[in-house]
């Protein structure tokens, strides 16, 4: 017996697990595949669903979370395309990053039209962060300085050229009519190292995510010049203006969602869709989403399918414009 299985009856008797056991027709061995190592954003995406599905009792069985790192998600994508293309039990975690990689042709012959996109349930947003003693008070100050001397400001973030973190910096440069290739940009291993580099004044602007800087907001060591969201967020983020309201049309949501194999039956797809449609409205889910530093973002079924395809097309033209792909 696993510890978890051993304790489930005990938990049930305490009434901690929900009583409304809903029957989902075809889902008897639910599994979420995180196309990365444990601990990253994809793990979080899977666990967000696994934990809350268990809490709410929307699935009979606990959802397993497995890992398949490699090829920034391409290995899992290939695996789903090749081996488990009709598995009714399997959902795979995805995000803006997956759409971006598909657009940049990093998944080989695949372009994102192959799988069945199930839905997005949460999001994070990009942020433009500087030190509290930086000379720029607003995004506009930074943009003016950047325009004057594109080589005078060092950007940094946790991703290579072509990655999401870089895209944020590149889009900001573009909005300022500066060629992204003329920037100074340093890529680090993840947001933590980038933040350390910002605090140590090795870089001047960090294009990170809102969730990863939440803990820094109160400490007063950093200043967030802009959130790359469509509107202001609540709570601790209420004072952070969006780039849009400062006159620069840059948005970067990092949505978190799931896809399924291409030959999954409509019945199974619909069953998962029903489960997620119910899940996103539960209190348990809303709390869990908030606890993980994520914001509301719900696009399910066809709406999500269209959104992803539209994003991939958009990213493709962006990457061509920036000279990343031909």
């Amino acid at each position: 017996m696993t510890l978890r299985r051993l304790l489930t009856p005990a938990l049930l008797s305490f009434g901690l697990l929900g009583s409304a056991q809903l029957h989902a027709a075809t889902i008897d061995k639910p599994e979420c595949l995180a196309p990365a190592k444990p601990g990253g954003g994809y793990d979080l995406t899977c666990r967000l669903a696994a934990t809350t599905l268990q809490q709410t009792g929307l699935l009979d069985k606990a959802m397993m979370v497995n890992y398949m790192p490699g090829g920034i998600g391409a290995v899992a994508y290939n695996h789903v395309m090749g081996v488990r293309d009709d598995d009714p039990n399997l959902i795979v975690a995805a995000s803006t990053g997956a759409a971006l990689n598909l657009a940049e042709g990093k998944f080989g012959k695949y372009d994102g039209s192959e799988v069945r996109w199930l839905g997005a349930v949460a999001t994070d947003y990009g942020a433009v962060v500087v030190r509290d003693d930086a000379p720029w008070q607003t995004l506009d100050d930074l943009m003016k300085a950047l325009k004057k001397d594109p080589q005078g400001i060092v950007f940094g973030a946790g991703g290579t050229v072509g990655s999401q973190d870089w895209m944020k910096a590149a889009l900001i440069a573009q909005a300022d009519e500066v060629d992204p290739r003329k920037l100074r940009y340093v890529s680090f291993e993840g947001g933590g190292e980038s933040l350390a580099a910002l605090l140590g004044n090795h870089i001047q602007v960090f294009t990170g995510d809102l969730s990863e800087i939440e803990s820094q907001l109160e400490g007063g060591k950093i200043r967030v010049l802009a959130a790359l969201s469509d509107q202001r967020q609540e709570g601790a983020f209420a004072d952070i203006p969006t780039a849009k309201e400062q006159g620069y049309d840059v948005e970067w949501p990092i949505w978190r969602g799931y896809y399924m194999g291409e030959n999954v039956s409509d019945g199974a797809y619909q069953a998962w869709l029903d489960v997620f449609t119910k899940l996103v409205d539960t209190e348990e889910f809303k709390q869990a989403r908030h606890a993980r530093g994520l914001f509301p973002f719900t696009k399910l079924g066809t709406e999500f399918e269209q959104y992803v395809q539209e994003r991939i097309a958009h990213f493709k033209s962006l990457s061509q414009e920036m000279g990343l792909i031909k």
Partner: protein, 155 residues
């Protein structure tokens, strides 16, 4: 290793350095923010390897020759066994997800134990006990998911 061994190694390393450098020149770089780019470091490494390989080719051999004394006589047996173990491990890998953890592991354990001179009965007992025991440890105590096997309805 013998002088011959070192020479052979030196040659292989030269080829490796050449392939590595050739593969480096093939990379297409859209643009890079640092002057070295993705190619700089590999070129330095290839050059270093060439220098080291040349030194290895020219210098007298060090160390003891291999295979040593007793083994020289049994060289054929050893080579056969090394290949056999590798074949077992490769088959084990291939069977891991299709036959499932329990069955593939039991077979692999039996084969390995037998190759290490366990005798058939001992190897059989070892295979059954270790496959079941490790499955219990990994799946029930440590909550690690292992392949059930396509034969048994898993994937």
């Amino acid at each position: 290793m013998t002088r011959l061994g070192d020479r052979l190694l030196g040659m292989i390393l030269l080829v490796l350095a050449a392939v590595y450098a050739a593969s480096t020149t093939q990379m297409e770089v859209p643009f890079s923010y640092d002057p070295l780019g993705p190619k700089g470091f590999p070129f330095v490494l290839a050059a270093l390897l060439v220098v080291l390989a040349v030194v290895l080719l020219l210098r007298p051999a060090l160390g003891e020759p291999w295979p040593r004394g007793v083994l020289l006589a049994k060289r054929g047996v050893l080579l056969a066994k090394v290949v056999a173990v590798l074949v077992v491990l490769t088959l084990y890998a291939l069977a891991f997800s299709s036959l499932g953890y329990l069955l593939s592991s039991a077979l692999a354990i039996f084969a390995l134990a037998w190759l290490f001179n366990a005798g058939s009965l001992k190897a059989l007992v070892c295979a059954v006990a270790m496959a079941l025991g490790s499955y219990a440890l990994f799946v029930y105590a440590l909550d690690i998911s292992l392949p059930v096997g396509q034969l048994f309805g898993g994937r």
